[in-house]
């Protein structure tokens, strides 16, 4: 079953090609075996000449980034984008969510829907749709939200995963908090699962773990692509009896977003080392899993700087408080293990009820997938997708800043010009405050 990806805006169209790069390398390796075939079916369709064409639609309101991505893919010689899978306008959305959602989205609805329909028809079976976008700008966030709405209307029974990139806390775009709040509030009603990467976190991974001196957006996007690909590549669920999962998005959503109030997912991968040190590193499953578990509990996204003092509270102390001892409570976790000796890995540490909320039994809360095929040059790789309180603090900060700005009515005239009123803002704030409240009271 296949996933159709919609890349939206500048960020979406920069992360997308990196993602397909990582995935296509695996597709080539498993030339004759089941894994390679599953990868190819899931993400590419093959032309009569055997070329891999990504199952993707590229959408942006200005042409520069799409041009760059398409030509870069073509140069790789391994995969490329479809010739007619792209749509760009001449003038961007000006970092204005209202411009993207109220003007550009509806204006180009038919064209974009047509492009997606063509990709979907090329799939034998559709596993679901994935929208890749940022929340800070105007196109990714505004047009992306509108397109997600259209996809939901057109494919009511398909799974929709939104991959969001959250901007650096210290401004890439001044109105980024407004755009983020509006996007999240709307997506919460439309999406099945919202997978988030934060630029700040990925930046730290690049500087501390990967030792990159001058970090560029390409470096950041590569890490995001690595983590996202490690989630989406084919894997075997516990009861799958050797057949690669055919419904990845559905299984992901089913495992993790079990309640409509809780849809925010974060990703954590280990190990992450600079490619120059990979030859000298050896990894063992017990060590990797122990670190990963502590990363989950203490809400650290890297192997460095983990706080080993944080422990899940004992049974009697189940009160949900944001600040309490730094413990990150999970709703549900999905552990994906790839590589050598994967069946010997002991995952019991993730099944303890103390990690989870009391109203979901831990057998329901924890799932794991495995694949013996090594991933992206790592002999062993463990990825944890969690629905937990991990994103609570950044979300709260984002809303706090947006609310302060809203209270002084700054920039509102820019949104009102395109049809978003103060009422719309208030509705969005209310929805997100509800999400924050739900997550902080998790116990």
């Amino acid at each position: 079953m296949s996933i159709v990806t919609v890349q939206l805006g500048q960020c979406g169209n920069q992360v997308g090609p990196e993602l397909f790069d990582v995935i296509s390398r695996d597709a080539l390796q498993g030339e004759k075996n089941a894994f390679g075939a599953a990868v190819r079916e899931r993400f590419f369709h093959q032309t009569s000449r055997g070329e891999l064409v990504a199952r993707a639609v590229l959408v942006d309101m200005e042409p520069k980034v799409i041009n760059h991505s398409v030509s870069r893919a073509a140069k790789s010689g391994v995969w490329r984008y479809g010739d007619a899978s792209r749509f760009s306008e001449k003038q961007g959305s000006g970092n204005n969510w209202a411009n993207g959602y109220c003007v550009h989205g509806p204006r180009h609805r038919d064209v974009v829907e047509e492009l997606v329909r063509r990709e979907v028809e090329r799939c034998d079976r559709l596993a679901g749709l994935m929208a890749v976008m940022s929340v800070a700008g105007g196109t990714g966030s505004g047009v992306g939200t509108y397109v997600t709405q259209c996809l939901r209307d057109t494919y009511p029974r398909s799974f929709i995963l939104n991959h969001l990139t959250w901007p650096y806390g210290t401004g890439e775009v001044i109105v980024q908090n407004y755009n983020s709040v509006l996007t999240l509030a709307h997506l919460y009603q439309l999406s099945d699962a919202i997978l988030v990467h934060e630029n700040d976190t990925v930046h730290r991974i690049c500087s501390r773990l990967l030792n990159i001196q001058h970090i560029s957006f390409a470096d950041v996007n590569r890490v995001i692509a690595h983590q996202l690909a490690s989630v989406l590549q084919p894997a075997l669920a516990a009861d799958s009896r050797g057949v690669y999962g055919r419904n990845p998005l559905g299984e992901l959503a089913g495992a993790l977003s079990c309640h409509p109030e809780y849809k925010l997912l974060s990703v954590c991968t280990t190990p992450q080392v600079p490619s120059s040190s990979m030859a000298y590193s050896t990894f063992s499953w017990p060590s990797l899993l122990k670190h990963l578990r502590q990363m989950l509990i203490s809400n650290t996204k890297m192997e460095e700087g983990i706080d080993w003092q944080v422990r899940p509270p004992a049974g009697s102390e189940r009160t949900g408080s944001l600040l309490r001892s730094g413990f990150n409570r999970s709703l549900a976790n999905l552990l994906i293990l790839r590589g050598k000796d994967v069946y010997s890995a002991e995952t019991g540490g993730f099944e303890e009820p103390a990690l989870y909320t009391s109203w979901l039994p831990s057998e329901e809360a924890f799932s794991s997938w495995k694949s013996p095929v090594p991933f992206n040059k790592y002999e062993k790789c463990a990825t944890l997708v969690s629905n937990s309180q991990a994103l609570l603090r950044p979300l709260d900060d984002m809303v706090g800043k947006a609310w302060n700005m809203f209270a002084s009515r700054a920039y509102l005239h820019q949104y009102m010009t395109f049809g978003i009123s103060e009422e719309d803002f208030l509705d969005s704030f209310t929805s997100i405050e509800q999400v924050i409240s739900s997550y902080s009271q998790l116990h």
């Binding site: 200005e62 961007g92 204005n96 105007g138 401004g171 001044i174 109105v175 001058h214 920039y411 409240s437």
Partner: protein, 474 residues
């Protein structure tokens, strides 16, 4: 890719415009080695094959035949425009883009705005429309004019209000040259204040530039180039005041100053024309930097001012470049930003600067720059990979800072000094359509603008409590 049209009005506007087109050609010639008419060129130039019958507009991708500037030149006396038409840039403009008269506006805003404004209204709209029709996707009008004279100030603001009427959806970015205190035009305060009212009403963004700051920058560079130390020899074409490498041969007196403003316009549009890892379009400037519709006065500052000829000099320059952008020596108006409150700030970086360098410098500078309480991280950033001619990297900082109100307060004072004595007023009141109430309206508009800035500035240093958040019932 979008197109922009540059409208220059008055003597100052046209002189700056002339430098702008020269430097724009130089920049594109530097980058475009194959002589193909590409999208970047298309944003400011049309490609025309004059042998064709229908006017011969050529599409993107072909060879360059003849470049025509996307410009409209307006002046009420012929001297400056004639000089342009006799100079090396004459091929770039055709008669449909020019509007001239003979007698000038006599340094009188009312003559420019009302008299010529009504006489030439049809023609101006016509020429603007023609220029707009040549554009596939028109994004922005750039208006260049001075505030102190009659044509640039009066007719220029009339053109601005016509742009608002005829093309309400197109962004209007204005570069206004404000007169210094020692300006030789006696009535410049009247002209400036009357023009300010129009700018506050009809422009999306205004970048005020003061002649005095330009003079100081020119002097600084000249001083640098006169030292004999070998390691401080400046590369000829790199100085922000230099027109070297362009078409015009000898430098005329105001050229050095005008080149600075021309470079400002080139840098602002660089990210919209060229590729980069974080593109910043022109409509994003207005969106991010203008929190309240009337407070759209942005302080520009350009660094570096020159590159040293000796490339083996180590580059500590990158961090220095960021620090310089926030010192008042590099600003194009004389207000002191550290004394005011930043409402928002945009950094447009060109050249091979990585995102981590940008972030590191923002972190470094943030503590010393006071930002308004609801916009503590009010930074907008853009990375363009093509550097300007003669540099490996450059930075343009556009700040919306309340210190601009000190410039406006000075202007108001000079106005009041004259107005109290009713000096020279009769020249204005003689013009048909002009009434004394317009003066009080104009100074009233200026005062309320100053008041708005002042209210925000007053919050500086105070710890503003966070607004109480919405409470969700459990």
């Amino acid at each position: 890719m979008t197109q922009s049209i540059v409208v220059h009005v008055g003597q100052c506007g046209n002189q700056i415009g002339c430098r702008f087109w020269d430097l724009a050609l130089r920049e594109h010639a530097h980058v475009n080695k194959e002589g193909l008419y590409d999208e970047a060129l298309g944003s400011f130039f049309r490609n025309v094959d004059s042998r064709e019958i229908n006017g011969g507009a050529c599409a993107v991708g072909g060879r360059i035949q003849q470049l025509k500037a996307r410009a409209v030149l307006v002046d009420m006396e012929e001297g400056v425009v004639n000089k342009i038409l006799q100079g090396p840039l004459r091929e770039m403009f055709d008669s449909t883009q020019l509007l001239t008269d003979v007698s000038g506006s006599g340094n009188n805003w009312a003559v420019g705005h009302m008299t010529y404004g009504s006489v030439y209204r049809e023609q101006i709209v016509d020429k603007l429309r023609k220029a707009a029709e040549h554009c596939d996707c028109l994004q922005c009008f750039f208006l260049i004019h001075s505030m102190g004279g009659g044509t640039g100030s009066g007719l220029g603001t009339k053109v601005l209000s016509l742009l608002n009427e005829e093309f309400p959806d197109v962004c209007r970015i204005v570069s206004s040259i404000y007169p210094s205190a020692e300006d030789d035009v006696v009535t410049s305060p009247y002209n400036s204040v009357l023009a300010m009212m129009e700018l506050t009403e009809h422009a999306h963004c205004v970048m005020p530039v003061e002649n005095q700051s330009l003079v100081e920058i020119v002097n600084k560079i000249k001083q640098m180039s006169h030292t004999r130390r070998p390691e401080s020899v400046i590369r000829g074409d790199s100085a922000v005041i230099s027109g070297q490498g362009g078409l015009s041969g000898t430098e005329k007196p105001f050229d050095a100053m005008n080149n600075i403003v021309a470079n400002l316009l080139l840098n602002i549009t660089s990210s919209a024309r060229f590729d980069g890892s974080l593109n910043m379009d022109l409509n994003e400037i207005a969106m991010n930097l203008v929190p309240f519709p009337r407070l759209h006065y942005l302080l520009p500052s350009l660094t570096p001012l020159y590159t040293l000829a000796d490339v083996s000099v180590p580059t500590r320059r990158l961090d220095q470049m960021f620090s310089d952008a926030f010192s008042k020596d590099h600003q194009l108006i004389r207000a002191n930003p550290k004394r005011g409150l930043y409402l928002a700030c945009a950094l447009m970086v060109r050249g091979n600067v990585q995102m981590s360098d940008l972030r590191r410098n923002i972190e470094r500078l943030k503590p010393s720059l006071p930002f308004v309480s609801w916009n503590q991280e009010g930074w907008k950033t853009g990375l363009c990979s093509v550097p300007p001619v003669g540099h490996s990297h450059s930075l343009l900082a556009l700040a919306n800072n309340t210190c601009v109100m000190s410039t406006f307060m000075e202007l108001r004072e000079r106005f009041t000094k004259l107005y109290r004595k009713k000096a020279h007023l009769h020249h204005y009141l003689h013009v048909e359509g002009m009434e004394q109430s317009l003066f009080s309206e104009a100074v009233g508009s200026l005062s309320s603008l100053i008041e708005e800035y002042h209210l925000l500035d007053a919050t500086k240093g105070k710890l503003m409590p966070d607004a109480p958040r919405l409470c969700i019932a459990r």
